[in-house]
């Protein structure tokens, strides 16, 4: 088995000007049993292509889509044109031929636990953030993997990779740096500059290009690791970037997967925008060139293909070359995306109120739930920025009805904010746009490195939060633990160090056990909040990628499983007694469920993240209602029927 393409290695030179992908066909044509159609269509389409040989082309015509993937987060082309895709939720690597046919699939556990990045050079490199290492895998014996980089002292956890001619670049998004390995030489880049490097690529002169999602920037380093410039600023207009997550270099062009703008930006090396590819999908799962949170991309060695990974939709779209010079205007309909009700992933309910993160505007929404049919938005607060009152990436939230306080964490800045909501929950429903008053901000990065008696290696990244008895429990994604913070802002204890791998969310049950979902271990861990000892486990063998967790008054635990598209319920004895939801858009449909929360009436609200909506279920799993984006809500609701007088039946 040849893992680097299944074919002998051939070096393909860069696409010369005027060369065009010879056949650009929709796979739909081949789905019907008409054997005469492919050759005929091929001839018809090839003729005009050949006729126009010599014309300029650009990369950006949709070619085909590889669907039904489990959280594709990274990809890279082999020299022969095959495509490696990392399926993070499935914990595996899949190799697809140039036509999108599945060839090889390397399953998880050996040698990696949670692959996150891939690069195909003379060897295949795979990053495994769960074990904080990068492996080099032989062409014919992938089980004999060499570890080429190991943490945690060297770096926090590896993410995206790129490799070229023996040089390997590794991003460390949680550590805010990038590492370049070349033989025995190791360079650390951008430690004082980068905030959240999520993508990196090498150019043919040895330069390194890095996309920094939190700073909405692309940075360039020369082969010696010196900062050589960069471009980008935050925004939705063309030429601006919202969350540059993936990056690729080909023929002096920089291709950027701008996740939150739902498009690919193509720039010169000086940063000038040449053109964009794709736009926000309108209908659920709409594709064929429409993009939905593109997170990574790769360009084939010969420049004829570009593959774009969309983890939320579980697919990779492949683009080919299109006729014409690089367009100076977007050839598609709309160029400016609009913020939509893209809820989550976090949600917290308390009394009549419900707090939700709105990721595209970096704000937090406060809803009132007194009306049965749908919650009313009372206020939203926060926006993008770094000073008090602004965030780069609001993540963890907590709500206390008694004091009307909200707590919000921002992992990319390492901070936790406390906000007073100046609204009376009993007052008539009304919007209060200026209701938030910031009380204080705690910079967790300024805390002592000896947190609660335990040494930590990395700047804390607070991703989730809950409170109990004047103490705040914060998940620190970087150090894989829970920080316990007192009223004065001091970290008095660290829980779960050495136990947790990928803590996602946390909650207390009525008995006082702190439950933490761990995505990479596929379980919920129960800890004693005083001693830190393990009190129990839930979901081993049943959960694949547990995410949100909450408890009801009876001590039952509800856990969302992002990879399995369902929510599981465990009774107070730990028995799995209910599964809610299946993959889809209907009344029982979930796609990538994240945050979960129990309201005062006992109903369960689930952030149906990839469906851009919230779903409400009774504690026994019966669908109650959905709300959010209408296009995504409608399939879940009963059809509305009106009589001749226009009254709803």
């Amino acid at each position: 088995m040849n893992l680097l393409g299944g074919r002998p290695w051939t070096l393909v030179g860069p696409l010369s000007k005027g060369t065009i992908e010879s056949v650009i066909l929709s796979p739909v044509l081949f789905s019907r049993a008409r054997p005469w159609l492919p050759p005929l269509t091929g001839v018809l389409l090839t003729l005009p292509v050949l006729a126009q040989a010599g014309e300029e082309t650009h990369l950006g015509a949709w070619l085909h889509t590889i669907s039904n993937l489990e959280g594709p987060v990274a990809l890279d082309f082999t020299p022969s044109g095959s495509l490696w895709v990392v399926e993070a939720d499935g914990g595996r690597l899949s190799l697809f031929s140039s036509s999108g046919t599945l060839g090889t699939r390397l399953e998880s556990k050996t040698p990696w636990l949670a692959p996150m990045g891939v690069a195909a050079d003379t060897r295949l490199y795979v990053s495994d953030p769960a074990r904080r290492r990068v492996m080099a895998i032989g062409v014919d014996a992938w089980r004999d993997a060499d570890t080429v980089l190991q943490g945690p002292e060297g770096f926090c956890q590896p993410g995206a990779l790129d490799a070229r001619e023996g040089r390997l670049v590794v991003t460390d998004p949680l550590g805010g740096r990038v590492i370049l390995l070349h033989g025995s030489k190791r360079l650390e880049l951008g430690a004082d500059l980068l905030s959240e490097p999520t993508g990196a690529c090498l150019d043919d002169e040895g330069g390194i290009w890095i996309s920094d999602a939190a700073r909405a920037r692309v940075e360039h380093f020369d082969p010696d690791g010196n900062h050589a410039g960069g471009f980008g600023d935050y925004g939705a207009f063309r030429g601006l970037l919202a969350a540059p997550s993936g990056i690729a270099w080909w023929n002096h062009r920089i291709f950027v997967a701008d996740r939150d703008n739902h498009r690919i930006s193509v720039h010169t090396e000086a940063g000038d925008l040449l053109y964009t590819v794709g736009m926000h999908a309108i209908w659920p799962r709409e594709g064929e060139g429409l993009l939905h949170y593109p997170s990574a991309l790769a360009v084939s060695h010969d420049g004829t293909r570009m593959a774009v990974a969309e983890p939320l939709d579980g697919r990779v779209q492949v683009f080919s070359r299109a006729m014409g010079a690089e367009p100076t205007i977007d050839p598609l309909r709309r160029t400016t995306p609009q913020a939509a009700a893209h809820y989550g992933p976090a949600i917290r309910a308390a009394g009549n109120w419900m707090l939700l993160v709105e990721p595209e505007t970096q704000s937090v929404l406060l809803h009132d739930r007194r009306r049965e049919e749908a919650p009313i938005e009372l206020t939203s607060f926060g926006r993008r920025g770094h000073v008090l009152g602004r965030w780069a990436h609001p993540s963890g939230i907590w709500l206390d009805m008694e004091t009307r306080m909200a707590w919000i964490t921002d992992p990319s800045a390492g901070i936790m904010d406390q906000v007073l909501l100046r609204i009376d929950p009993k007052a008539p429903l009304n919007q209060h746009l200026g209701a938030a008053a910031w009380i204080r901000r705690m910079d967790l990065r300024a805390l002592d490195r000896e947190l609660g008696g335990i040494s930590v290696f990395h700047d804390p990244r607070p991703t989730a939060i809950c409170r109990r008895e004047d103490k705040t429990y914060v998940i620190d994604e970087a150090n894989r633990c829970v920080l316990v913070i007192d009223q004065a802002g001091n970290c008095i204890k660290v829980l779960g160090a050495g136990v947790l791998l990928r803590p996602m969310d946390l909650c207390f049950d009525p008995a006082g056990t702190l439950w933490i979902s761990d995505a990479w271990q596929g379980r919920i861990v129960g800890l004693d909040p005083v001693s830190g000892k393990i009190r129990g486990n839930r979901g081993l063998g049943a959960l694949r990628r547990p995410d949100g967790v909450c408890s009801d008054a009876e001590g039952r635990l509800f856990v969302s499983d992002r990879a399995a598209n369902r929510v599981l319920r465990f009774d107070s004895y730990g028995t799995l007694d209910l599964s809610i939801g299946t993959e889809g858009l209907g009344p029982e449909g979930l796609l990538g469920p994240r945050g979960v929360s129990i309201g005062q009436n006992g109903n369960l609200t689930v952030v149906d993240h990839s469906n851009h909506r919230c779903m409400v279920f009774t504690p026994d799993g019966e669908f109650v209602r959905a709300y959010g984006s209408k296009l995504h809500v409608r399939p879940a609701m009963k059809p509305e029927i009106y009589d001749e007088q226009g009254k709803k039946r």
Partner: protein
């Protein structure tokens, strides 16, 4: 009056609007600290505005120049921070930040004021309220790893 603009009210006015509408007899700690602020009628007649930090870690004294704040014209502020006993806080500028926002519109000012220290007072200039409506001025003070905020609200038209 220049451009027919004037300050109608300061922080307490809006707090009263918010909390008065609440009609909640049980005051929480934040309501108590709001009630301790200088009454609106005193602020109206005085060039010195006062407010407690939202977490009550310090007090803010602030003077606008000119007074009242003009619409769509540069103005400046002089302010100082006091500790709980009313003594001026002796702190460097790097621990103090000032900003202003229109929370109902989700935007701030088009200018970035520069801070300078002068005999215990801090001067911020320029500020510009380019749009009529409710503005909030924020003064943030950082001590160690904790930043606290004091804020004052103005209706400008």
């Amino acid at each position: 009056m220049r451009h027919s603009t004037r300050i109608l009210s300061a922080c307490l006015v809006l707090n009263c609007l918010w909390f008065g509408a609440c009609n909640d007899k049980q005051q929480d700690p934040q309501e108590q600290h709001s009630a301790r602020q200088t009454p609106a009628d005193e602020i109206q007649g005085s060039p010195t505005l006062k407010a407690d930090a939202n977490a009550q870690g310090f007090q803010l004294e602030l003077i606008t120049s000119p007074h009242p704040i003009p619409l769509n014209e540069d103005f400046s502020l002089r302010f100082r921070l006091l500790d709980a006993s009313g003594q001026p806080l002796d702190d460097s500028l790097e621990h103090i930040a000032l900003d202003a926002d229109m929370p109902e519109h989700g935007h701030g000012m088009k200018v970035a004021p520069v801070l300078s220290q002068d005999e215990g007072w801090i001067e911020a200039t320029p500020l510009l309220f380019h749009m009529p409506g409710i503005w909030e001025i924020y003064v943030d003070h950082t001590q160690g790893h904790v930043t606290e905020r004091a804020q004052l609200s103005f209706r400008v038209f």
